[in-house]
């Protein structure tokens, strides 16, 4: 049934896939990571910009091409990350991964994940989890680089 798609493509996800918050190239990122999904050829680069002399995220920018899930997830992540400390961002990435790996079992805590809880529906589609994780895995790599 087409209705089954609604759990996956929530309106918020479709909106973010067009909005693409944080899309672009940063001048002097503290870290930059590239991730790809070899099954579909999606490619995403995430750049982490920190406040000068601080571990606070000034901006998380990204660019690349991919499906609506990967684009929306990068957009939501970018929106979420600005203003957080690197430690706080790390916690959110852990929480997002736990939800995405739960196959629908983990509802996701809106207090921690904010808008990113809309990807909870994606966790039931095993083939699409990698799409949703792409930007988050790249961001996690950036955190390792600045640790």
């Amino acid at each position: 049934m087409v209705d089954s798609l609604e759990g996956l493509y929530q309106q918020h996800i479709l909106d973010h896939s067009k909005l693409r918050h944080g899309y672009g190239h940063a001048e002097n990122p503290a870290a930059e990571r590239f991730e790809r999904n070899p099954t579909c050829g999606d490619e995403l680069t995430v750049q982490l910009v920190l406040e000068p002399g601080s571990d606070r995220v000034a901006a998380l920018t990204w660019h690349g091409a991919g499906c609506s899930i990967s684009q929306a997830s990068a957009s939501v992540l970018s929106e979420l990350a600005a203003g957080l400390t690197t430690a706080e961002l790390g916690e959110k990435i852990d929480a997002f991964r736990a939800m995405m790996r739960s196959r629908g079992g983990d509802e996701g805590d809106e207090a921690i994940l904010g808008d990113a809880v809309v990807f909870q529906g994606v966790s039931k589609y095993v083939m699409r989890v990698k799409c949703a994780m792409l930007a988050w895995v790249a961001a996690e790599g950036c955190l390792k680089d600045v640790a």
Binding site: S4, L14, G41, C67, S68, R128, C131
Partner: protein, 442 residues
């Protein structure tokens, strides 16, 4: 079997006396394929992914089961009754497949699939280039400056083994460029094939564009320069009558699971003279004549390439798949798929924002269509279709260089086979027509 058709002639072998396959025949054929009756997401399954792998008829499943229930044993070793029955079935299967593609039995090597078969040739040539195989193998040896030619449209399985062969021998890998829709002609190939060309490897039918390569012209071009021709026949052998001797290629590869047979088995065809000169790629048990602590003499082909335990029940099942296809008739399968591809093309042409890659309407095309959907990623297209029970392939279809050339990262591919109905094609076209609206692009 439920695919009887009006005939005034021998029903086997696909003689023109058989009536063309229509939807009524196809409904009969589908009764042999239990998987096609599945429901997906509450909708009847429309399986349009046969270019990736085909469904298997009961006859094939039964043949494999019967073999395992009654005559399973190791082949070419042991003297007990079952060993004899198994060996006979294994070799009968080889003869059946050989006859199917116009080859003789000793020219058919069992492999795990087409990828394995292409690697077998490439690594056999690498071994010859490194001095293995004695004087007979010198004809294969590559030296720095020799050239291997492929096309820009190749599946990775017919590209990467040649990249590796070039890297280990100093040979140069060159490619025949494709045009803006992903196809090429003999003139484009002639510009790349030179006296330095030693190997020409290409797909008979592209798994992305459905383009049918001009095999006869390419074979002539290569042979005039003394180059060997390696044909990736994965998308042709299951869908049209093929006579490898008539095509004149030197090697050819295809997979069992793309022609109603099991996974884990495929075929390397090689001209007998060449196979007996090519050094083996894998060595071990059952491929030797005498072994000492310092060396071994290898058996003639095909056994010299069949080291270790063989996929026996898979070979038996593959032979049954071949008989099934022969009973329907390959000419009828080809004609039917042509109609289905035309129907897809006609339908997709009506939908704004759909860019079909491959030969233009009217040009030869196999029963598959790949396309880009403006503003919507192929994975999203595939997901939308899956929700309607429609199974298609999305991604780069193991042909990244081709997609890069077309300016795309991924496409959606629908592929038909002898069990595909026109209703399925119509359901697919209708659903594609709704995709861009759903994702806010139209």
């Amino acid at each position: 079997m439920s695919l009887t058709a009006p005939s005034t002639d021998d029903p086997r072998g696909g003689k023109p006396a058989l009536a063309p396959l229509d939807d009524e025949h196809v409904r009969g054929i589908r009764e042999d394929f239990p998987a096609l009756a599945e429901t997906v997401n509450g909708e009847p399954l429309s399986y349009l992914d046969s270019a990736a792998t085909t469904q298997r008829p009961r006859q094939v499943l039964d043949a494999e089961r019967d073999f395992l229930l009654h005559s399973n044993a190791a082949v070419h070793r042991g003297a007990h009754t079952l060993a004899g029955l198994a060996t006979e079935a294994f070799e009968d299967a080889r003869a059946t497949v050989a006859e199917f593609v116009g080859a003789s039995a000793e020219e058919i090597v069992w492999t795990s699939g087409a990828t394995d078969a292409l690697n077998l040739v490439a690594y056999g040539i690498a071994n010859a280039s490194h001095g293995r195989g004695g004087p007979a193998a010198r004809r294969f040896a590559l030296v720095p400056g020799d050239e291997i030619v492929v096309t820009e449209a190749e599946h990775h399985a017919n590209l990467i083994p040649w990249q590796e062969l070039a890297a280990t021998t100093g040979a140069v890998l060159r490619s025949v460029p494709v045009d803006d829709v992903g196809v090429f002609d003999a003139d484009a190939a002639a510009a790349v094939i030179t006296d330095r060309t030693r190997i020409l490897a290409f797909a008979h039918v592209s798994n992305v564009t459905g383009f049918v390569a001009p095999v006869a012209q390419l074979v002539e071009l290569a042979h005039d320069r003394g180059a060997l021709v390696v044909l990736d026949a994965c998308q042709s052998v299951p869908h049209r009558a093929i006579d490898l001797h008539e095509l004149g290629v030197d090697f050819a590869a295809f997979s069992g699971h793309k022609l109603l047979g099991p996974t884990g088995i495929g075929v390397l065809y090689g001209r007998a003279e060449l196979l007996n000169a090519l050094p083996p790629f894998r060595t071990g048990g059952s491929m030797i004549e005498t072994v000492t602590m310092t060396g071994a003499d290898f058996m003639p082909a095909p056994q010299r390439f069949e080291a270790g335990t063989q996929p026996v029940s898979q070979a038996v099942a593959l032979a049954e798949a071949v008989r099934y296809l022969q009973s329907v008739g390959l000419d009828r399968v080809e004609a039917r798929e042509e109609l289905l591809a035309e129907r897809m093309l006609r339908g997709l042409a009506e939908i704004p924002g759909i860019r079909v890659v491959g030969p233009p309407p009217g040009a030869p095309r196999a029963g598959l269509v790949s396309f880009d959907t403006a503003g919507v990623h192929a994975h999203d297209v595939g997901q939308f279709l899956d929700a309607r029970g429609i199974a298609v392939r999305v991604g780069h279809h193991c042909a990244q260089p081709l997609h890069r050339r077309l300016g795309l990262t991924a496409t959606t591919r629908a592929s038909a086979y002898l069990y595909t109905t026109t209703e399925e094609v119509d359901r697919f076209v209708e659903a594609v027509g709704l995709v861009r609206g759903y994702f806010g692009e139209a």
